[in-house]
């Protein structure tokens, strides 16, 4: 408790003056992070920022305390080119420290595995010898020994899927270690958000991770609306929630189909492939786009749901859910499928907490974490969706959690559509306040989406940090592969189904 007193407390989607973020010296900063994490907080973000006109870097830490629903922020100023790494004591920050090293040329001394994250030039162009590293050219962890061999896959993969590089250290079929090297999808979004918002900003948000459009646009709007002090109409909040759950329904259903396909159980694979499309078409009924493009906008949403449309949506939800139930039941009743799902790609609760894993992958290990429940915003303040968990942390658990969530999301959508609140769907945003900070969390279908926005004195974006759920979770996939058969990689990979572009930005 005393630790959190030293930090600024925020609520999800609530803005405060940037000046209120306390600047701690590194020892204090280190101890607030370590102590908060020890008492269960999640490192939602840690990022660098160069204050205007200064030659130092500030490191911000955003700690999300699920217990209290509060978000704590503190920062520390680094004027040297190095600082003592926290990773050994707090593995949750391992990738954040690597990211800061890459973007701001700050060396986390003692980091156990310091390598590029996205293979890009640093944000501090006028600083040091900022050369662009060659993508994928770096040291990889190697296991030496007789009969140990290395398998390298990617960046271009066999399926219709984004690029990434995977290196396995194997002994026969058995995987000792998997290292995942990304960055191929890097489009340079984060630096383009500076100075905004402008006419492209919302479209960047829609395509940060294009299958989580509603999740990311909602997170963005929540942050920008807080900065502008804009109150979003209740009806818009409801429809955002409906769209978010439709996104979850589509992707979870698609994932269950793909998991079945990966073990060769084709009935569920082909039914769910079609049913996922039916959910996408429901989103298109709402906004014309199957992926929820041009729907969520600052101040509300663009398309209303008239009565007949709401009825049509309800009807479609019923028939689709009936078929999904039928298709997924087949899966649980197929013993050959279950024997492939069970005990495969296990992640322990302990590892999951250490790494700060989020979303269905974390809930599958028994961790009760869900932004909709822990940091409710928008409609989720009024309507509660129970958190779905499992215990075994294997492929089966990740599949089963998805199935539980499908049912609960369908219940939520049904409930909302049956008693749709009236009123307008959009209000004007207004000017953004200057020198404010806001943290916005949304439970996307992959897990926690975290956006942090800071404005300069004129109300322009001075720093915008995006943390896609995949950023927290890729390491989870790597560890879940330990001591697995390499032939189970596609199955394990699918059970996480992480985003490459969401990570690479």
């Amino acid at each position: 408790m005393s630790e959190t007193l030293r930090m600024l407390t925020l609520h999800n989607g609530g803005a405060r003056p940037v000046q209120e973020v306390p600047t701690l010296d590194w020892q204090q900063f280190r101890s607030v992070i370590l102590n908060s994490v020890a008492s269960g907080a999640h490192v939602a973000a840690m990022f660098g920022h160069v204050p205007d006109g200064k030659d130092c870097v500030e490191i911000f830490a955003v700690l999300a305390d699920r217990e209290s629903g509060q978000i704590h922020v503190a920062k520390s100023t680094i004027s040297e080119n190095a600082y003592p790494s926290l990773t050994i004591d707090c593995p949750q920050v391992h990738l954040f420290e690597r990211e800061i090293a890459e973007q701001y040329e700050l060396l986390p001394e003692g980091h156990p595995w310091l390598k590029p994250v996205r293979f890009v030039k640093s944000h501090r162009s006028n600083h040091g010898t900022s050369k662009r590293p060659l993508i994928g050219v770096t040291d990889f962890y190697r296991v030496e020994g007789e009969e140990v061999h290395e398998v390298a896959v990617g960046p271009v993969h066999a399926g219709v899927i984004e690029p990434g590089h995977f290196r396995f250290q194997c002994h026969g079929e058995q995987v000792f270690h998997l290292e995942i090297s990304l960055g191929y999808q890097h489009r340079g979004v984060e630096s383009k958000l500076m100075g905004g918002p402008n006419k492209r900003t919302i479209h960047y948000m829609e395509t940060l991770s294009g299958d989580a459009t509603v999740g990311h646009t909602t997170a963005y709007c929540q942050s920008i609306e807080a900065l502008a002090g804009c109150k979003v109409p209740a009806r818009a909040q409801v429809l955002r929630g409906v769209a978010l759950e439709l996104e979850r329904l589509a992707n979870h259903t698609g994932d269950l189909g793909a998991l079945s396909g990966d073990v060769g159980f084709l009935p569920t694979a082909s039914y769910c492939g079609r049913l996922r499309g039916d959910f996408l078409n429901m989103t298109a009924l709402l906004c014309g786009s199957r992926l929820g493009r041009a729907l969520v906008r600052p101040g509300g949403i663009v398309y209303d749901l008239d009565e007949s449309r709401a009825k049509e949506l309800l009807n479609r939800l019923e028939t689709t859910m009936r078929d999904v139930t039928n298709a997924v039941d087949l899966l649980w009743n197929s013993s050959s499928t279950m024997s492939r799902f069970e005990e495969t790609g296990k992640l322990s609760l302990e590892t999951c907490e250490q790494l700060g894993i989020v979303g269905p992958a974390a809930r599958a290990c028994g961790l009760e974490c869900d932004v909709r429940n822990d940091f409710p915003a928008g409609i989720f303040r009024m309507s509660h969706i129970p958190v779905s968990t499992a215990v075994t942390g294997d492929v089966f658990a990740r599949a089963y959690v998805r199935w539980l969530e499908i049912q609960r999301s369908a219940d939520f959508v049904r409930e909302q559509l049956q008693a749709l609140v009236g009123g307008t769907i959009k209000t004007t945003l207004g000017e953004l306040a200057g020198e404010k900070i806001v943290v916005s969390l949304v439970e996307g279908w992959r897990g926690q989406i975290c956006h942090v926005a800071m404005t300069d004195p004129r109300g322009h974006i001075a720093r915008y940090k995006v943390v896609d759920p995949s950023f927290y979770n890729w390491m989870g996939l790597a560890l879940a592969m330990r001591n697995q058969q390499i032939s189970d990689f596609p199955l394990c990979n699918k059970s996480f189904n992480l985003s490459y572009c969401g990570h690479d930005l």
């Binding site: 489009r187 492209r200 294009g210 079609r274 493009r293 041009a294």
Partner: protein
């Protein structure tokens, strides 16, 4: 086993009859934009100013809209004081040439088939390798969907294969990020000739929302020769399917459609 058979019966036959039947699209679907220049107040540039990808420009002939840049966001529709721009449900949008995507007073010239010689090779069996080069997973989702029972791409002899060595061409999504440039080039080189390249989505055609980013190139044809352009953000699966079938001469190149009144 009985359960599986029963559910097979319950789930029914789901493959659409396209291209013989007319597909149903949602009423809010944004297909081909139509511009009515007669409504434009003189000197008005509202649409061009809000367009996130600078798809709209003005020259002596008036307003031009580049479908290759357009992300179908409808920001221009909302900005226009006279409702001069509307989106129609027309989903057929693919062209063979980049210039054909620039809409002014001409009809959109839809893609015609490959040359007879190449069509003889690929017409009944086209194997494609998909490369995502900075795609956001949007276009990838809609390409993937073509392999579901709904569209059943296989019935046209088109298949997405696992290796460029087995492929007749590449289907590229994404603006071609700097970090994917080499891998894309290598994949292209590994594909046996003759080969074709298909650019799917605004990013792969022009860079889309990432136009002129230092970390990305402005689409596939900035690095490779492109044979088919399929616009959209992402394109509807039917737009992609229609484009592929036109390229193979499975849909007659007859009709173009009016993009402007």
């Amino acid at each position: 086993m009985f359960g599986i058979l029963l559910s097979r019966w319950r789930q029914g036959h789901r493959t659409i009859s396209f291209p013989s039947g007319q597909p149903t699209l949602p009423d809010r679907f944004r297909g081909l934009p139509v511009i009515d220049q007669s409504k434009c107040p003189s000197g008005c540039r509202e649409c061009a100013e809000v367009c996130p990808t600078d798809a709209i420009s003005f020259d002596a002939k008036g307003l031009q809209l580049d479908l290759g840049r357009c992300i179908f966001c409808s920001d221009c529709v909302q900005a226009c004081p006279e409702k001069a721009i509307t989106f129609t449900p027309e989903f057929r949008l693919a062209t063979r040439n980049r210039e054909d995507l620039i809409l002014n007073e001409h009809e959109l010239r839809l893609a015609d088939a490959l040359d007879e010689k190449i069509r003889r090779l690929f017409g009944r069996s086209l194997k494609l390798r998909q490369v995502s080069a900075g795609g956001c997973a949007g276009c990838e989702v809609e390409v993937n969907v073509l392999s579901t029972v709904v569209f059943d791409l296989g019935r046209f002899g088109i298949q997405v294969v696992a290796s460029p060595r087995h492929a007749d061409g590449l289907l590229i999504t994404g603006p071609v990020t700097q970090n994917m440039l080499l891998a894309l080039q290598k994949t292209y080189d590994a594909t046996p000739t003759p080969k074709i390249v298909i650019a799917v989505g605004a990013c792969a055609i022009s860079g889309g929302p990432y136009i002129d980013h230092p970390e990305a190139h402005n689409g596939a044809d900035s690095v490779l020769p492109v044979d088919l352009y399929i616009p959209g953000c992402p394109p509807h699966p039917l737009t992609i399917l229609d484009g592929l079938l036109r390229l193979l001469g499975r849909i007659e190149a007859s009709a173009g459609h009016k993009s402007s009144k």
